[in-house]
Subunit: 387 residues, 2 copies
């Protein structure tokens, strides 16, 4: 049953191999000062940086830069960015990069003019912005987080060992996002595959919750089938525009609020994965893949009918002798796909050792909306089974 909800998504998307041109339509809507936010400089190697600078200059903008955004953006980087943003009095933050860069840009947009400490305000107390928000635009170069069309902004505090995501309201969503699948061609295979599994996990974690009949679940089944199909092509042929464009579009809709509407969601894999990320600094998508099978096998008995649905509707598996067999066949198909596309299948490979379990368990938020509310012992068992 669809529960009550409000839906609105103000982000305007420009999709395709000509989409950067639309930056010329968006820039005149904002003031003169633009803060360009990017990561380690891969956009300088592939030429995108020069293209963006040229368009900004052609539109008469004064350009400021905030670069070196790391894969798991830290609170220290955020503080530094806030000072920079205030100093340049930016009218627009233009994020050029993957999910980390876009997440960071959004965190910056709500933090620079906050009178309270932003980490405490947004990531410990989960308050909403009550101060000036600087608009964010996005040019996406890596696929997975869905950050291009949502209010999510994950920040890591290495000192306290916490990696926390605040999901802001639609006043924090990017005003526009430019999605050119060709920008994702040069992402290293490891990062591409991690992004694909991040997307898959977003869908799985919204799907595996609730036992009602819900249109959102059917939409997710379609998104998963598209992703599974295109991912198999993309790992063999990263320059396949059809596959890369479908993956990019699926990632956007996997986490732009639509598929969660009117239903309960779980998100426990992200909770454990983010704890692993805080302790190891491992690539986000791989922290999810490394524990997913152990997690789903553990909760399967508590949501058996949904796992049967998953097997039948996503992998088109016919009914086997028992529900358990059908459900397990679905998870086996998921495992085979994960191995085929080459995600990390265990946490040892991410540098996790048993002596880290206590810190990971401590840093894991426990949700109560999945098929089973985990105990600390459950998390231990999942980590052990994932070693």
């Amino acid at each position: 049953m669809l529960g009550n909800f409000v839906y609105s998504n103000p982000t305007k998307l420009y999709f395709g191999d000509n989409s950067l041109n639309y930056l010329n339509e968006e820039l005149p809507k904002y003031g003169n000062n633009v803060l360009l936010v990017y990561g380690g400089g891969s956009i300088k190697k592939n030429g995108l940086y020069d293209e963006v600078i040229a368009i900004l200059k052609a539109n008469g903008k004064t350009i400021f830069e905030d670069y070196g955004v790391m894969p798991n953006p830290t609170v220290a980087k955020l503080y530094e960015g806030c000072e920079r943003l205030r100093a340049c009095n930016a009218d627009l933050i233009l994020a050029v990069g993957g999910g980390s860069v876009v997440d960071y840009a959004k965190a910056l947009s709500v933090s620079a003019y906050s009178e309270e400490d932003p980490w405490q305000k947004y990531y410990i107390e989960f308050k909403e912005p009550d101060n000036k928000i600087v608009p964010v635009g996005c040019i996406l170069t890596m696929v997975g987080t869905g950050s291009e069309m949502n209010g999510g902004a994950v920040i890591t505090n290495p000192e306290s060992g916490l990696k926390i995501g605040h999901v802001f309201g639609d006043n924090v969503f990017p005003k526009f996002s430019i999605l050119n699948p060709k920008y994702t061609y040069t992402v290293p295979m490891y990062q591409m595959v991690a992004g694909i599994f991040d997307t898959m996990s977003h869908i799985l974690e919204q799907y595996f919750s609730g036992d009602d009949d819900n249109t959102s679940d059917y939409i997710m089944e379609g998104l998963m089938r598209s992703l599974i199909h295109s991912a198999k092509i993309a790992v063999k042929d990263p320059y396949n525009y059809e596959a890369r464009s479908n993956i990019m579009w699926t990632a956007t809709w996997a986490l732009n609020t639509l598929v969660a509407k009117g239903k309960s969601t779980d998100w426990e894999v992200h909770m454990i994965g983010q704890a692993i990320g805080a302790v190891t600094n491992a690539t986000h998508g791989m922290t999810l893949s490394a524990i997913s099978l152990a997690y789903y096998k553990l909760i399967m008995p508590y949501g058996l009918d949904k796992f049967v649905k998953f097997a039948k509707n996503v992998f088109l598996i016919q009914d086997l002798a028992t529900k358990e067999e059908t459900a397990l066949a679905g998870l086996a198909a998921l495992e085979a796909w994960m191995k085929e596309i080459g995600v990390v299948m265990n946490i040892s490979e991410l540098g996790v050792t048993k002596d880290m379990f206590a810190d990971i368990i401590k840093a894991t938020f426990i949700n109560t909306t999945g098929y089973k509310t985990l105990t600390k012992e459950d998390i231990y068992a999942i980590l052990e089974a994932s070693l």
Copy 2:
């Protein structure tokens, strides 16, 4: 492959059995004068009219009314409404009703201040609005058209025998729409089923075009599966909230621009159906159901692989000996579902006789984006097979 596109949808949706309360949040955004647009008065019988009036009064609005919007709104009604709208200088058009009422409200919103004749401007020359547009809000009471979250506005000109839809840009989309599945409980069974098939046809007509691999098609497969499932429940138990809410949500996403993104679409069934509607004034959804099977059987050989996909992914049919057999099994499953929910299966029942064929064929626009561009003989054959 996803072609290049721009996506944005500014409509804010309030969904659920408490959604009318949100009218109190929306009204303060607009000026004092509200033009309430509705149809034949069923909202007076079920109490919704009184509830809306009470909320408008509580928000200090001056209320004007434009009622009697017919199932196929006419250009004469539109002209009359334009005068009324200008006379009351409305700041907001509040449409309370089904797709016809909402379509009419949108047509009104762009026509009242047009210097050119709106029929000529929007429905013959397909120009875009270059004049003041009055904002539209929507309270939906019937499901099917998707008009609550798109720019479509179909108007009928009985004199010229034309029923034409203009799909306006997102500046004409309703600013907000209130979707309460319970408002649809009292819609007569015939109208409910017609709306369900209208929704199904929206999806089918966007699905059956193109031979690429496209995420949009996968989303549509999910939407169709949800609709097929919930429709079977709703015809037996119209007060089933779960089924009615899923149908309502599916209808919105079937035609709010998302599933057409990056792909070609057909729309020929709507073209023939609208011609039948112009000649007979029959219920829109039933004009589509009555000709669909003949149409799809005729084009099947030209898009065989897609019809196989439809059979396998929507009805979970296993591969049969030949592609043709699998494809036909899919259409047979569609036919069985249509009969189960009770749509009109032939045009005789809608009052069509052979002597009307020439007028229907004359009024039918021929699209070139389906699997086969129809000849006049093809349309004749479809009509004859649908008698």
